[in-house]
Symmetry: D2
């Protein structure tokens, strides 16, 4: 049972919150708390030793002791659901499908939507519905409407862009605030936009990276969840970088999903507070 809180900081918050828990006879397994002193802002993650709690009661009790404008997120102990959008590259989707099949993803994959047919056969193997939504011969609006129509048939907590190579419009993104997770194949903010490995190769960098982030309406500018790099050298062609990069794309997306699905990430503005293990 996880509770995430963010609010203006003031003296005695931890005492007040933990008293609420003690009064409700809830044992705190782990408390992670962070105060941004400059911004006078308080963030808390509580892990409670209980699968079911009276969430309404606890929330009311918390609202009673927290400053106005606070945000409380009580996560029911049910498995989350995700929808996955892909284009042609298999590595991130493959990793997600494997974890899903063996119950280690921390969520269940409800459907896969591809703007190419390429990954249908892989998805089929794992008995997950695959929906092909063509982006050719369609306006962006029409394409996104078609995607939304498919999504409308499912219930899900998050949309995962697992190497989905279309840029989503602000309108689409706004419909799922802080619920779309993307993997970008560069160490943001370096190499925003298209062909980051080509850009990296031309600049002659000695490290390449990948960034998992929530999607907002500015391209590659959303709150960063996780980043990772891998060393390269002069001998790596753009193709080599693409190949190497896939390894960290898969790994950093897996890590970001784990953090988000375990309710370890609090979004505040354009940043994240991430309470790792």
């Amino acid at each position: 049972m996880i509770i995430l809180i963010q609010c203006t900081d003031q003296v005695g918050l931890v005492a007040a919150i933990s008293k609420v828990m003690a009064d409700a006879d809830l044992n705190i397994i782990s408390m992670r708390e962070y105060v941004n002193v400059e911004a006078n802002r308080f963030y808390l993650r509580l892990e409670i030793m209980a699968d079911i709690i009276n969430a309404a009661h606890v929330e009311a009790a918390l609202l009673n002791v927290l400053p106005p404008g606070c945000s409380i997120f009580i996560q029911p102990a049910v498995k989350k659901k995700v929808a996955v959008l892909v284009t042609k590259e298999y590595h991130c989707l493959g990793d997600i499908l494997l974890r899903n099949y063996f119950n280690t993803l921390g969520a269940s994959v409800e459907c896969v939507i591809g703007n190419h047919e390429t990954l249908r056969s892989l998805t089929d193997k794992f008995d997950i519905p695959f929906h092909y939504v063509d982006h050719l011969d369609r306006t962006k609006a029409a394409f996104e409407e078609a995607v939304s129509a498919v999504l409308g048939n499912y219930r899900f907590d998050y949309i995962i862009l697992a190497k989905f190579m279309r840029i989503l419009s602000p309108g689409f993104v706004a419909a799922y605030p802080h619920r779309i997770i993307n993997i970008h194949h560069s160490f943001l903010p370096a190499f925003v936009g298209a062909s980051p490995y080509r850009q990296a190769h031309e600049r002659g960098v000695k490290l390449i990276g990948a960034t998992a982030h929530f999607v907002t309406d500015v391209l590659d500018e959303g709150p960063i969840i996780a980043q990772q790099i891998i060393p390269v050298n002069h001998a790596h062609s753009v193709t080599d970088m693409v190949t190497l990069g896939k390894e960290i794309e898969e790994s950093v997306l897996a890590k970001a999903l784990q953090l988000v699905l375990q309710d370890r990430v609090i979004v505040d503005g354009n940043k994240t507070v991430v309470f790792e293990n």
Copy 2:
């Protein structure tokens, strides 16, 4: 102002402790708490927004709410002091002296003791007393007695073994429990004892490491504070490994000192709980 606590776990500890702080009108800047569920053990680090507190009063109030057998460590906001023991290699001592000179060590270096004269000239440059204690023509007991005699002239919180290549006897170690910090030039528990780089070279490993740990009476077996590795390959001779290894020895010792001197490390048995930033 830092308070470290460890005790048996029970429901309501965080509430009780933070109520003590709130009652004393102390604002918690940062609280890091960890419960080892298997061992039913509770660890807490509190950073309080206050330079001076009535420590006796706070400790009494805490003892009142904590279970018996608890350990409370209230760290006065005064700069710590360290003594440094060395042999011939300069890199760790050099780094410590530089940080000390520019006030970024988080402690003041009170003296350097060498069982060789090699590092006197470096130490002299920074106006730190250097004491040469010869280990030749002496029994281990006599050598350690001489070291103790020098140390007896100084007040210090920790002894840093900055590539000090003599093994200290259990008797010496027992006099400074959890107060001697060593840098061992391997990724413990691999390559315990002498010539770890030679051992690593013979085994053909692809990574070499360094380990900073508290010294106990079993060689290289004390609680680990920090570890780091660096990649190597077939082309690295033992000498190359020694050279490369120095970089991480210096870096991992610096990190461990920072963690210890900022009161981020709680020792429990043969392990550490480390509350990093």
Copy 3:
């Protein structure tokens, strides 16, 4: 087209070898050469811009200029084949099957042999033959005989132990010299043998690792191909370490396979010379 050479070092080897190539009108794309000066031993990897060469002719010409006792390995440009042995854990096998399905493994998976049925359904999805060989109610000899019998029906270059949790006897290993690749879930030589994560947890290390190595008849003592580590802290239980460890096991095995399958690894005694990109 790859040529690997190892021999005693002497003046003029590179000149002589590259003259052989020039005479055969073969263009060298990349030459990686290493001389172990202490051991007076010479290693070379040549990448030639040609898919088909007269291997017998080139080998004869090389033998003409190399010192006696040299070893020449001319790798025909055909896709390698592998057999995979597993127990219950899916992550390494899953990664291998995905890469195999999308033609990025650099080899084709001929069969999977499991001493449990657990991974049959995954293997079936990818239309790779799965053979269950029971180890219960059988002597080790009888078990290995049964495995050998299955392997006898396939042609393969390497056997991959993808978290295969049985120790193979020297007799079995001797039948496939430098052709069995294992992933061990520790940073060897730390934590040899069973339950390395439990050992790591008890020792309180701050990094855990994984090691890919060729199997020899001494447990966990074969030539190391690749190693990797991941940071852990006090809060990681043994179970957490097992979970985290799987990520690097998969990643380090994938890297080792890539190195071996691209003919970048020369084994000499208990060590490897690895010519990375």
Copy 4:
């Protein structure tokens, strides 16, 4: 004895070059060769087992077999010399002075020039001349002229900008082509220019970096020699990032200096070919 070569690629280059060495009775300890197939460009680093050679003779023999427009760099086996420019931060200079004092820098520090007096006392300790060149009350041109005047009194191979916080004009830079090495406190090309840590903090990145590069006339755009990163999280203030960043700035500059001073770096246009160990 090191020889660096770059030229247009053609069949038989390695054979021809190694024949030149064999004819001159020079034993090749290590040969590192790289062909950029796309650009049809050949790079070679030869380490020869000889301290003194007839450089003119070898160069003539090489010119005879290499294509027109080739570049040959025969490095005499004499210790290199460096000049160091600094502002106020001590960490990079301190590291360089320590290595210089203990003869592990691979070069001798001839002088230190500061646009502040801050680091004079440190430099004095190591008996290296310190020159204060004021940038206040002076035009940039006058300032650079004064720096040049000081430099004119020394002989040196490289100028090291060890956290020198003034931007040098194209004219100044042009006087020392590929001979000025800078450490920039970001993972280039992210966060070019001033206050990269503030920029990184505002973007909420999860890794910060440092980049050592040759200085050209475009700010932070010169050929990259080495890069490194360090993880950060939400709890790191700008000040924390500055502190953490110093550790990798020092480490990545040290590594770049080692690579350059061991003649392992070939510059070609805006990129480097780096032959690491």
